[in-house]
């Protein structure tokens, strides 16, 4: 008997098929029904997250030993794309939660895993990331927030200006330094429970153009820390960031953006055929054909880069040589940066072209599916800003081992 009330239990389906059936069910019911409300009210998708939990999807990246589904990257990407097709906000919220779950599963000590991963499996606890800082510029490998020694032990006061789903998180995975006297790049990762936090966004200032349901708000973390709260080795957050946090994050976002444009494309094509059938658009015109082909080219390019990156990630996982750390490899890191940059740019180009083809009523009117995806995807280049990633990739290229050609 599953602990998840709505989990598809058809015994004729493989484990992978059951997950996909459940993802489609959540997407085509709750997410489809709630997407407009989540967007118009800029509300965290509480109902969507509950539906994801009911269908066993909140613990998708958690090990089976902790009540999770322990899926491979391909399945994770497929689910993210399906969810994003109906509501990009919910899919992004879910994918960032899943990224943190994967980090805990891979790097936390057994006691911490038991606490966090059990709460995810048994209650659908939401796990948020708190790596942003007021002056950090989003560079997660450095951190100014530092703990201090007090009578009762180590204490951290940390302000995070942007925490997706901060109001609804049960756990916060935060970067800190263990002392103000150590360098900014000696970063540690800790888990902090919601009881040790308070929200500082009292003016409810979250009012953005798109992905409005992600509700990225400011949070103040304030608590005593003990040894068991650390995830991975103290001061060695870079190891966690390189494997799996950063690559998994960029792949997850890219999967969401791909899912959003693929579904928008299908909505657009359905609309065009309906319109054509009733004497509207001339579907036989070369102009329409060329424009559709251009959109399809963007979408297929995005999909190809995404699938290639998943394959490269799996290749790194498969390397059995202990002396080689593929996740730290410069070429792999450039590839993953480029994935994020490429998909965020081309996904927006695709949806922009779709607005042009669909026209004012279907493509540009409030409440239209394509219009919402257009606003949502404008955020893609801003989330972990492309400008920063491009500069990083350019610099990394000088340290790539390609000199002996």
């Amino acid at each position: 008997m599953s602990i998840y009330p709505e989990l598809a239990m058809d015994n004729n389906l493989t484990a992978h098929e059951k997950i996909i059936v459940n993802a489609r069910k959540v997407a085509e019911t709750t997410l489809r029904e709630r997407a407009c409300l989540v967007d118009s009210n800029a509300h965290f998708p509480v109902e969507g997250v509950k539906a994801l939990y009911d269908h066993g999807l909140m613990a998708l990246m958690s090990p089976k030993a902790y009540g999770g589904q322990e899926v491979d990257l391909g399945t994770f990407v497929e689910v993210a794309s399906i969810l994003a097709g109906e509501c990009l906000s919910t899919a992004l919220v879910w994918s960032m939660h899943s990224q943190q779950v994967a980090v805990v599963a891979q790097h936390a000590n057994p006691e911490l895993k038991e606490k966090i991963l059990r709460s995810v499996a048994e209650r659908g606890a939401f796990v948020a990331s708190a790596t942003t800082e007021a002056k950090g510029g989003g560079h997660i490998l450095t951190c100014s927030a530092a703990a201090e020694e007090r009578d009762e032990g180590l204490h951290i006061e940390r302000f995070s200006p942007i925490v997706t789903g901060g109001e609804y998180a049960e756990w916060f995975i935060a970067t800190i330094r263990t002392s103000k006297d150590i360098p900014m790049n000696e970063v540690s990762l800790v888990a902090i429970h919601k009881d040790d936090t308070h929200l500082v966004d009292e003016k409810n200032s979250w009012n953005v153009m798109g992905v409005r349901g992600t509700r990225s708000i400011a949070v103040q973390l304030s608590c005593a820390l003990d040894e068991g709260d650390f995830i991975g080795e103290k001061g060695k957050f870079k190891n966690v960031a390189l494997n799996p946090m950063i690559p998994l994050g960029h792949i997850a976002w890219s999967a969401c953006w791909y899912g959003a444009i693929w579904r928008a494309y299908k909505v657009m094509m359905k609309h065009l055929r309906e319109k054509g059938a009733h004497g509207g658009a001339d579907l036989k015109s070369d102009l329409i054909a060329e424009r559709i082909a251009q959109v399809r080219l963007e979408i297929d390019s995005v999909k190809a880069f995404l699938m290639y990156s998943v394959a490269e990630y799996n290749k790194v996982l498969d390397v059995k040589d202990n002396t080689y750390d593929g996740f730290a490899d410069t070429s792999f890191n450039i590839l993953i940066n480029n994935l994020k940059v490429m998909v965020s740019e081309h996904a927006f180009t695709a949806i922009d072209k779709m607005v042009q083809i669909a026209g004012i009523k279907t493509g540009y009117s409030t409440g239209a599916h394509i219009e919402r995806v257009f606003r949502d995807l404008r955020s893609a280049r801003l989330m972990y800003a492309n400008d920063k990633l491009i500069v990083a990739s350019g610099k990394l290229s000088f340290s790539e081992k390609t000199r002996a050609i």
């Binding site: 490998l141 450095t142 150590i182 360098p183 900014m184 790049n185 000696e186 870079k238 730290a328 410069t330 990083a392 610099k395 990394l396 000088f398 340290s399 790539e400 081992k401 000199r403 002996a404």
Partner: protein, 83 residues
């Protein structure tokens, strides 16, 4: 000694503001001084320019930039014992 001073002077330029560079010597752990991965790449290029060399592929690792001593192993002028 002249080359050591030259190397340490180049390194100092890439350490974060506020670092205690007075204690910097050939065996100082540069990571512990706050040298991050992006600064390491800038440092690498300045060393190549300063010593008019091209560092080999083997030097393009984090461990090769752990200390000035480690870096010097890839700079030809340091291979001569008279430095």
């Amino acid at each position: 000694m002249e080359n050591q001073e030259k190397l340490l002077a180049i390194i100092k330029r890439h350490l974060p503001l506020g670092s205690n560079t007075n204690t910097l010597d050939m065996s100082t752990n540069l990571l512990k001084m706050g040298l991050d991965s992006m600064a390491t790449i800038d440092l690498m290029m300045d060393i190549e320019q300063g010593f008019e060399i091209e560092l080999p592929d083997e030097a393009l690792t984090a461990s090769a930039f752990e200390t000035a001593q480690d870096i010097s192993a890839y700079i030809p002028v340091f291979m001569d014992s008279s430095v």
